[in-house]
Symmetry: C2
Subunit: 453 residues, 2 copies
């Protein structure tokens, strides 16, 4: 949400009052109010290490993997021993996540205040704009250093990560959308879906899930393989829509907490993101890329490759309008609007994400800091760890890559960079830095024999 | 929502193509998606008659009371016989309300299209910004004449009438709020309420109900009489908050569809509204007034009386910031922010209403059109029909007023104006036009012997 990826100067030099300035970076995840499927994410939030600058204070749900931290700080040129890491005590079932209870824990707040002594905190940020972070900022007396504090303290983060609020705001901003609507009741959903099905398949979207896991496709025609969705549901007649909604409404609304979206599903489209930093001074494009799904998110290409200039302009223009609307609302931080480009090269926006996304550290810090020439003569192909591959630890994965001569080499400015800590099961997310998409995919294929079980 | 109260010129003159221009005004109410307690409102929406200009087409859930329509059009100077009134066929249980099904009814759409023949529709508006109205605009091919169509078509009306969205946006705009937060889960609600109770009574608010009917006050101190709330709930220890939420969460969230607000309740405050018209060209203050509650809404005073200029400026300034935020979102129409003024003269905003409110026709059309000198040497005291009073019909009420010499007289520019149709039970809403608040209240007291049973 709140971290400018590459716009912050290093801040280790002492200020006028002799105190070093420092930032507090909170490695949290979707709040439990929005998603209850995220207890596993202790490793995923460690990507916040990519954003660390000398003197920063990191708040994390678990101690980060030391090898991972060595690796990242060597890449970004941050002095690892200048960093402070604070892990709030665990209570009951929230060890993998920075729950509101952990962020409000008295011992944690005392420890954080101790670490802050002698530093002037210029900035507090989190991966996810949670009111619990705003409460933490107040508790340690630095709410004025948290951009967008007022908006986040009133749970505005829910609005800027909601697919229903996205469609309302996009509709108001005149940003092009797939035909469809926000469903405010099962009856309105049924009417909308039946009407849309006349024109082809319909995507029904959960308000808050991501990576395609909240989407289902309804079709009256031939079945097909879903992309960016859980499944394709055949509809033989309108009463099937009624039955579908009867069965799925509870899930689609997360028990009533969200409003699903129903919209035209355009087969054979590509998906892109454009990210903006929204700060007090305005809106700035920070990155872009293509999103790959099969059927869920499997990777990203940054920057976007092979997009016609006119299409790219529409992506940026629509994204900017959304960012400007949220700027007017008082949201501050990263906004990642997504859009599809249809086979007829229509640009249609599909959601926005008001948080540090799974792209921000890749283009903003790996691309923006670690890789010379990113976006000029180098691209990044980022990959979710493939099913069936296996490695026992971060260090094992790194050693394997180095031994095979496939690890990133600053001399050639090509090779594989591990992007996160070990996932606790069998993998490590990674990306390939290459001259172009062909060489990137071929480097990616070279990994198969190393890790395929 | 969309009707400018007094900014529209009369439009009965033929346009260049020989067709008369006309507007379609939809007398709808809260959508069923937001409120399910509104089947009774066939009379309440008839206040739309106050907005009618020559040649307009009114869509209403029931045939309006003819005597009421005579009365209103005589007051506004609109030619009654120039108006067209269309009532969609009733289906099952929605006779009192313009449900989405009624607005999508094929016979209704054909009839509306017939009425539109020979007229150029310059504007389509509704009392409530319902996606079903946006769908109607599309169905009859006039969506470009509906201001804010894109926002409303994606259910944006829910956002601009939500107390939780209000607090997010107000927090982002830096508009002063009572201490508190949006509750995204029972756990976060409990934490917030327990913390707030340390400082005094706490108001818990349903996301969508109005007139104080969605509010409950929790207090650890002496019980007191609720104002603007259903009741005062005594809290002896923190576990009472837990039990309260366990019992009331389902109701507070309307079964999960909304997010309640918990905020500091400041006793002995007064409540005010400021209304703005949000149009493509910007934001314009259209009216203001004081809201009277005992404990629910019982009346309004327009314009606000006895408010210090510095306090009034804060009301307008905060309201304008909210209106500008919603302008940036693409909402078009009336926005009525409410605020309390505390005994120490703090101005704290409490909600906004993105719709034609219960104030708009009073200040905008009765004040703005029917009463000369409104806001200069005349004020309006509006009153909800008091409990215990009774009249058998609109015409009876009017005759009684005239016989007693208390009906509004254009010569003296004082007296009682009936503001709506007969409520179907025992009353008619009314307002008193007077030189000042003292004479207004004394005219109001004079009605007691006429109607008290």
């Amino acid at each position: 949400m709140l971290i400018p990826p590459e716009t912050l100067a290093r801040r280790s030099t002492p200020t006028a009052d002799g105190r070093r300035s420092a930032r507090v970076l909170v490695g949290n995840d979707f709040s439990q109010d929005v998603r209850t499927d995220r207890g596993w994410t202790g490793w995923w939030v460690q990507r916040i290490a990519w954003f660390a600058e000398d003197g920063d204070i990191l708040v994390l749900p678990v101690r980060p993997d030391d090898d991972f931290l060595d690796y990242v700080t060597a890449m970004t040129g941050t002095r690892k021993d200048s960093l402070s890491i604070v892990v709030p005590p665990v209570s009951e079932t929230d060890e993998g996540t920075l729950s509101p209870a952990r962020l409000a824990n008295h011992d944690f707040i005392s420890e954080l205040e101790k670490v802050m002594v002698g530093r002037r905190i210029t900035h507090l940020s989190a991966l996810w704009p949670d009111p619990a972070v705003a409460a933490l900022a107040r508790a340690v007396g630095i709410s004025s250093s948290m951009p967008g504090h007022g908006f986040v303290s009133q749970a505005g983060g829910v609005m800027v990560n909601s697919k229903s609020a996205f469609r309302m705001i996009a509709g108001g901003a005149g940003v092009p959308l797939p035909d469809g609507t926000v469903c405010t009741s099962p009856e309105s959903a049924e009417r909308a879906i039946v009407e849309l099905l006349d024109g082809g398949p319909v995507m029904v979207k959960h308000d808050f899930l991501s990576g395609g896991r909240g989407n289902e496709i309804l079709t009256t025609g031939e079945p097909f393989r879903p992309i960016g969705a859980r499944r394709v549901v055949p509809i033989d007649n309108p009463s099937d829509v009624h039955s579908y909604l009867e069965e799925r409404w509870e899930w689609l609304t997360a028990g009533g907490a969200g409003r699903p979206v129903a919209e035209r599903y355009v087969r054979d489209s590509s998906a892109f993101f454009v990210e903006f930093l929204i700060s007090d001074s305005g809106v700035e494009l920070t990155g872009d890329g293509e999103l790959l799904s099969a059927p869920y998110a499997v990777g990203q290409i940054m920057p976007s490759q092979g997009v016609e200039p006119a299409v790219f302009d529409q992506l940026v223009e629509g994204g900017r309008r959304l960012a400007e609307a949220l700027h007017a609302l008082g949201y501050r931080g990263i906004l990642g609007p997504d859009a599809i480009v249809t086979p007829t090269r229509e640009v249609l926006f599909t959601e926005f994400n008001g948080r540090i996304t799974g792209s921000t550290h890749i283009y903003g810090r790996i691309g923006g800091r670690a890789v010379d020439g990113f976006g000029k003569d180098r691209i990044i192909l980022e990959r979710v760890w493939p099913g069936g591959w296996s490695t026992p630890s971060f260090t094992d994965a790194l050693t394997t890559l180095r031994d095979a001569g496939l690890a990133y080499d600053p001399a050639t400015r090509t090779g594989v960079i591990l992007t996160n800590a070990f996932d606790g099961q069998n993998g490590v997310m990674y990306c390939v830095v290459a001259e172009n998409l062909n060489t990137a995919w071929s480097a990616d294929r070279a990994l198969h024999p190393l890790f395929a079980a």
